[in-house]
């Protein structure tokens, strides 16, 4: 694969939310929702971000979309730093990057009919030059997502969840973006509808040359749709690689724990369900050193004292861990510094 420049990249991206803590409200704690994420997304790929609740994946999506200000780090879109851009300077980028949200029941203005929901973004970004062209493009879009142009005069509450999600996808495509963040696009939908929507997204990607980030807690969906996957925990990426490597040969203990916890719809493949003990630490009090060590069965003293390095443990397969772990034999092997990728991925504020 040629190393073309990435479409979107983020460097040590962070989003911290201040929380008033302490007795006099002076001691400022922070919810470190995103705590230093460095990734690059290639043109045309579907990049998956998985993790459980509180891992920061949704906040990451919102920060990338500039719906919220980053607390640190950079976002580069087609090489341009968009981290600090606002208003008019940001608008051209808004056209190129769009988002589809999780809840189809709430992501459309209930008092706006579908035609208006589709033509509004077109007019806003001057995608078309006249209202009539906007209307015909809207009709084209609505058919592309599998709905009938008759539906354009209707309102969101007249549609089912799956149909509303199709409308939301059409609305995102109305500005002819090149990049779409899909935040749990099928989590609120029935399984039979989910498959339809995922297939639609795939077809649209092929037809329009889109690049996707798919954010999901559903590992099976990510497995079946994404080219590369990153696993997040407590605000950082623990492991990132091509999807089949992550699922067939995970190297981070958290990834391994996640995969062993996912049940399989096949009664002949019942699992021993190796249970990950303990609870997720509070994002205001992230453990020192490796943040996963409080629940990791392979943790050592080093994991508490030293921040784990980023290691390319095999070609294009990165892990943030001190050790190379053999899950079957339950052995850990120290990694040589030659494999380290350097300290640039330390979380912000880390000494």
């Amino acid at each position: 694969m040629s190393e073309a420049s990435p479409l979107l990249s983020m460097e040590n991206l962070a989003k911290w939310f201040p929380v008033r803590g302490g007795f006099f409200g002076r001691e400022k704690l922070h919810v470190k929702a995103v705590d230093g994420v460095t990734l690059s997304i290639r043109r045309g790929e579907t990049f998956g971000i998985v993790g459980e609740s509180g891992c920061g994946k949704t906040t990451l999506g919102r920060t990338l979309m500039r719906l919220t200000e980053a607390s640190g780090g950079h976002i580069l879109f087609e090489g341009a730093d968009i981290t600090g851009l606002r208003g008019r300077r940001l608008k051209p980028f808004r056209r190129k990057m769009q988002m589809v949200f999780q809840d189809p029941y709430a992501s459309l203005d209930p008092r706006q009919n579908i035609r208006s929901a589709l033509t509004e973004p077109m007019m806003l970004h001057h995608v078309v030059s006249s209202k009539s062209l906007a209307n015909s493009f809207a009709a084209e879009l609505i058919e592309k997502v599998g709905l009938n142009p008759d539906h354009l005069s209707r309102f969101p509450h007249e549609f089912s969840g799956g149909q509303r999600q199709r409308v939301a996808i059409a609305a995102a495509l109305a500005v002819k973006p090149i990049f779409v963040v899909l935040d749990e696009p099928t989590s609120s939908l029935d399984v039979s509808v989910q498959a339809q929507i995922l297939r639609l997204l795939k077809n649209l990607q092929n037809e329009l040359g889109l690049t996707y980030i798919l954010i999901s807690h559903n590992l099976a969906v990510v497995r079946q749709t994404c080219d590369r996957t990153a696993v997040m925990y407590l605000g950082r990426v623990m492991e990132v690689a091509e999807t089949h490597r992550i699922f067939e040969n995970p190297k981070h203990p958290y990834t391994k724990a996640l995969l062993s916890a996912v049940p399989i719809p096949d009664p002949t493949k019942r699992k021993s369900l190796h249970v990950l003990e303990g609870d997720v630490p509070k994002p205001t009090a992230i453990p020192e050193g490796c943040r996963f060590r409080t629940r990791c069965e392979f943790a050592t003293a080093k994991c508490g004292s030293d921040f784990p390095p980023l290691v390319e443990i095999e070609p294009r397969h990165f892990v943030e861990c001190h050790y190379d772990i053999d899950f079957i034999g339950k052995e850990r092997r120290e990694l040589s510094p030659a494999q380290f990728q350097g300290a640039s991925t330390l979380p912000p504020g880390h000494v």
């Binding site: 799956g162 049940p263 009664p267």
Partner: protein, 371 residues
């Protein structure tokens, strides 16, 4: 139709409608279901299929605008439909326990977890007295303290057991200890601390386990678990699933596990009932259902479920169309508008629920029932 020997629950031809301003929602259209003693039955279906409504009907918790058109719900030989309020309360206390999806809404936020459970025990002291005493006696005996410091207590409890009465002080103390032991049995760490905690202090998984404890305290014969893992993270869900699997062997209650997640069904259940738009369309042993699904809906559903151990989706994934409007449901077989195998009789005749192979039931005209 009454429960046969070995069955704890039998639902026959249950038809329930809801009166809403928009019209009559025909939620259940002749549901047929049975649960054997000690088994875990999975009740699976997508939105609007009626699985929660069925559970509510069994627990006698249907809302006021529900009308039971006909059918019967036999719980261990007793007919639940039409029972008096008082009898229903007794049933819910002794025989059927329901665990819901969102513990945050179903637990009282201003009471500690422990007090909510002891409240259950205190509602009917006569029901629990002997159980509490026996539990404590068992504890003492296991501690090998039958003679020694506990001897006095042991003797006192024995007399109380014979008289069938406990002093209030003893009752409260034993209730608390029993509750703590139940909290421990659901794998809650530091159960005595959890006893004093409030729901908001617990994590999602712990709250769900507390709700399960609340159900177990009553030693019900049947537990209805409605989407209890749906709102949980994968690792927390695994904890709860493991708990349920362990409990399966320890308690002799039957469980009806209601969920839309076929993977959870595959992990835990002995038999599975698939529901669509108010009907049970297929019922079989779990292995049989997954390896040999008969109903087109079941087949479509199984093809649509993404699997973490398979790199890409099946080309058959997805079922065209969407769940029907239950105010004006399709005629005949409610699935026919979406069914790839539908033929001319399907809109005309409602398929009967028939046994096609031993223990394998289907409601589909492809397998019989065409007049």
């Amino acid at each position: 139709m009454s429960t046969t020997k070995g069955e704890i629950l039998r639902v026959s031809n249950l038809r329930v409608s809801f009166n809403t301003y928009a019209g009559e929602v025909k939620a259940l259209d002749g549901v047929e279901l049975s649960v054997k003693k000690g088994e875990v039955l999975g009740l699976v279906g997508e939105s609007g299929c009626g699985k929660s409504v069925t559970a509510l009907a069994v627990a006698g918790l249907l809302p006021p605008n529900a009308i039971v058109l006909n059918g019967s719900v036999q719980l261990d030989g007793k007919e639940v439909l039409g029972m008096s309020k008082k009898d229903l309360q007794t049933i819910r206390l002794e025989e059927v326990a329901m665990v819901f999806q969102d513990p945050m809404t179903f637990l009282n936020p201003v009471l500690s977890v422990g007090s909510q459970i002891t409240e259950i025990i205190s509602t009917r002291p006569e029901l629990f007295t002997s159980r509490l005493i026996n539990h404590r006696i068992g504890e003492i005996e296991r501690g090998g303290a039958k003679s020694g410091p506990m001897e006095e207590e042991w003797a006192r409890l024995q007399t109380a057991l014979q008289r069938g009465k406990l002093s209030k002080k003893d009752f409260d103390r034993l209730a608390k200890e029993y509750t703590i032991s139940v909290l421990a049995s659901v794998n809650l760490p530091e159960p005595d601390k959890v006893f004093r905690m409030y729901p908001f202090e617990l994590s999602g998984g712990m709250r769900q386990r507390a709700m399960i404890a609340m159900a177990l305290v009553r030693r019900p014969k049947l537990i209805l678990a409605d989407e209890i893992t749906t709102a949980l993270d994968v690792t927390v869900q695994a904890q709860v699933l493991k708990l349920l699997r362990d409990l399966k062997t320890e308690i002799d209650a039957s469980i009806v596990l209601i969920t839309h997640d076929l993977a959870v069904i595959a992990e835990l259940c002995d038999r599975v009932a698939v529901m669509y738009a108010g009907n049970v369309v297929e019922l079989a042993d779990v292995g049989e259902l997954f390896s040999n699904p008969l109903h087109p809906y079941t087949k479509g559903l199984l093809a649509s479920v993404p699997r973490v151990d398979v790199p890409s989706a099946s080309p058959d994934a997805g079922i065209a169309g969407s769940v029907p409007d239950l105010i004006r449901p399709p005629s005949g077989c409610r699935f026919h508008p979406r069914c790839p195998k539908a033929f001319d009789k399907c809109p005309q005749v409602k398929p009967p629920f028939i046994e096609v192979a031993p223990g394998h039931f289907v409601a589909c005209l492809l397998y019989g029932g065409v007049p």
